[in-house]
Symmetry: C2
């Protein structure tokens, strides 16, 4: 683990430099990195081919291999991502509050970087460059631990990012990739509290659980989404069908996809057949409670377990309720505090739902699929926080910062 | 541990009610609790006498017994604290941001409670009522685990707080005190991630370390302060003496007291004798590096270990540097990111120090003793955060909140 400690120390030295960099310098690094990624395609594709060959040997499924694969278009996409972050406003140095106390002390609350951010991620190698762009623009040093399947690709990307830093005269230790596939190293990384200020896992529920369990560093939990659409008795049923179909099927593998439908008993007889027909083309399997099955007798019964599941698949659980209050209670019992929607024509029900549902993003008459840093106008995102601590919902540049108080006096002492 | 789980469940049920309470209702509970504390002095003093008797039997030192002791005046102080929190503005419901996206989605970022807050504290029983006031006013449910020495006192305070809640028709589970002195229960409490949203330890470095190590719940670290005063070459030396004396001796046992002095070599010969004389009446022991000891040859040499220590005692370590940069590097190496001061007449040095020092509160020409929720005008404080995550520096009501996004649409789906 000696090497890991060295990485931590280097990141800590780098953080003081990075926190003081001008926006111009940071943007110059990002543009140069984009250029180097484009001109370095050959090396990237070669490294990626090694990873793919090994993955095939290990019998990885094609869908997973696709996530791992780089091609010219994907590399261009990664480069564009870096340039987009360069265009975003720099959050560092923003005066968030400013006041003077009766004793004359002048207190400024100023936005500063978090320091050193650790990111543990799976599969897709674009995360490596994306995460660097966001953490670097917000003045942080980053240490990345990617999936072992993508190790060569991640290291090739790291080489180009560090070249960009070096050519701009900025410390290369702004980004470091852990060059190991040893699980013990990952566990040790999660406990480098002395050097790492926050740890962000990006990946499936298993990864996130493991990080939360083993980390002594503060963690931002991201991405598990058991999202609901509630169709109220006063809903525009055609709008409700469009929203459920979009939230369920537009992209099934994402955290803001709908996994469960809650329907008011007064409209279930009309709504459920409409919905079934609309979901037919995508082959969505429906699993309902008894009252749902009175209307759709040929669907599978839903179990307690179904209501707690994030399927990430063409499956939808269905639950009948008799009021907005019952819908809220059901959602708060089973959800992952990610994104929830009510479809309703009654403003009072909309307000009850907005206030009562415990989730990062609560919608009225819109698809849950909008929970996303780009859709929110943040310009980028490092993930969706499902915790209430530090940051909630889509996390952009500001969510990767902290603050300090600068206090100016003229000799004040406390009596 | 079954009982602990039941407490967690009850707090979770309470949190949805508390998050929706009006400011008027919350304030009515706080005023009633203050009244009941005043009229219930007899019961409180009786419970407190039991704790004190047991503490004496166990051979507790008198200084610690003093911290544990309630008397009429202290109970009045606790009641006043509740009333002061009632006077503070309610943070819940504040619209922190509001914007409309090109697709018409109207996005409001609204302040909400964190949910269930766990507080683990030592010694002083006033924490029980203070912590309830702040967590309750910010819409949270709280579960308190106090020191075993104060168990009877804490339970007596809990009884009155719950009576106030009941008489105002609010769920009593807004406050629950863990009725156990078993360490295993404390450890289990730190791992009630399913029910508790954030854990705040209030106490010494040992308690905080233990919580950070064992907790699976997000923790706000509070209170360890190895604070420095740096006397620059251009300092007004008389002001510097006043600030060091105040920061070191005004109250030695607190986290924002000065533990270490850093002095520029150009002024040490003039400054150190002045300081020594000024610290003499308080009997402060000075421990210096070689260059300090050239001026004050009869003081103890400072070791590496001294520079890393939070003495909380009449001891001061001293270090000589040749520049502001060296002072910043020394402080960032040894500090606990709490509060640091430069005494200087040079604006450029002040700005370098403000920007370069990594601490919650960085001062120019003022005592570190001002790092305090009341001194900052927050009206109250639950502690001083020394981490960068979620909250930094003095934590008042706002720091006990999170936010949610309320998004209003008219049928938007994602394409």
């Amino acid at each position: 683990m000696k090497e890991l400690t060295e990485m931590g120390k280097r990141a800590c030295e780098a953080k003081y430099v990075l926190g003081a960099l001008s926006s111009e310098k940071k943007n110059a690094v990002l543009y140069r990195a984009a250029m180097l990624l484009r001109s370095g395609k050959e090396a990237l594709l070669k490294a990626n081919a090694e990873d793919i060959a090994r993955a095939r040997e290990n019998g990885m499924k094609e869908a997973m291999i696709d996530r791992l694969t780089l091609n010219e278009k994907r590399i261009d996409g990664i480069a564009e991502g870096l340039e987009q972050v360069a265009l975003l406003p720099d959050p560092i140095g923003e005066v968030m509050d400013h006041f003077t106390r009766p004793n004359g002390l002048d207190i400024e609350k100023v936005r500063v970087p978090l320091g050193v951010i650790g990111i543990i991620f799976e599969s897709r190698p674009n995360v490596c460059a994306d995460a660097f762009a966001l953490t670097f623009k917000s003045g942080n040093a980053v240490i990345l631990k990617g999936g072992s399947d993508a190790l060569h690709t991640n290291l090739a990307i790291e080489t180009l990012l560090r070249q960009a830093l070096r050519e701009e005269g900025v410390t290369e230790d702004a980004v470091q990739v852990i060059d190991s596939t040893d699980r013990a190293v990952t566990t040790a990384f999660m406990q480098m509290k002395e050097y790492v200020d926050v740890l962000i896992p990006r990946g499936g529920a298993g990864l996130i659980r493991s990080v939360v369990e083993h980390s002594t560093i503060p963690v931002i939990e991201t991405g598990t989404g058991n999202c609901h659409v509630y169709v109220d008795e006063s809903a525009d049923l055609e709008m409700a069908v469009r929203i459920v179909v979009n939230a369920k099927t537009q992209r099934i593998s994402v955290c803001n996809a709908c996994e469960s439908l809650v329907v008011h008993s007064a409209v279930k007889d009309r709504f459920l057949p409409m919905l079934k027909e609309a979901l037919q083309p995508s082959g969505v399997e429906m699993r309902g409670d008894e009252r749902v099955r009175e209307v759709l007798p040929d669907i599978v019964p839903a179990t307690e377990e179904d209501y707690g599941r994030e399927y990430l698949d063409y499956i939808l659980s269905l639950k009948t309720v008799d009021s907005t209050e019952e819908a809220i209670a059901h959602i708060n019992r089973y959800n992952t505090h990610h994104s929830e929607t009510i479809v309703t024509g009654t403003p009072e029900h909309a307000e009850s739902f907005l206030n009562g549902v415990d989730a990062a993003c609560v919608y009225v008459n819109a698809s849950t699929r909008f929970t996303d840093g780009f859709e929110f106008g943040f310009g980028a995102e490092i993930g969706i926080s499902t915790q209430k601590f530090h940051a909630r919902g889509p996390m952009g540049l500001k969510e990767l910062t902290s603050y300090k108080y600068k206090i100016r006096g003229n000799g004040q002492i406390r009596s």
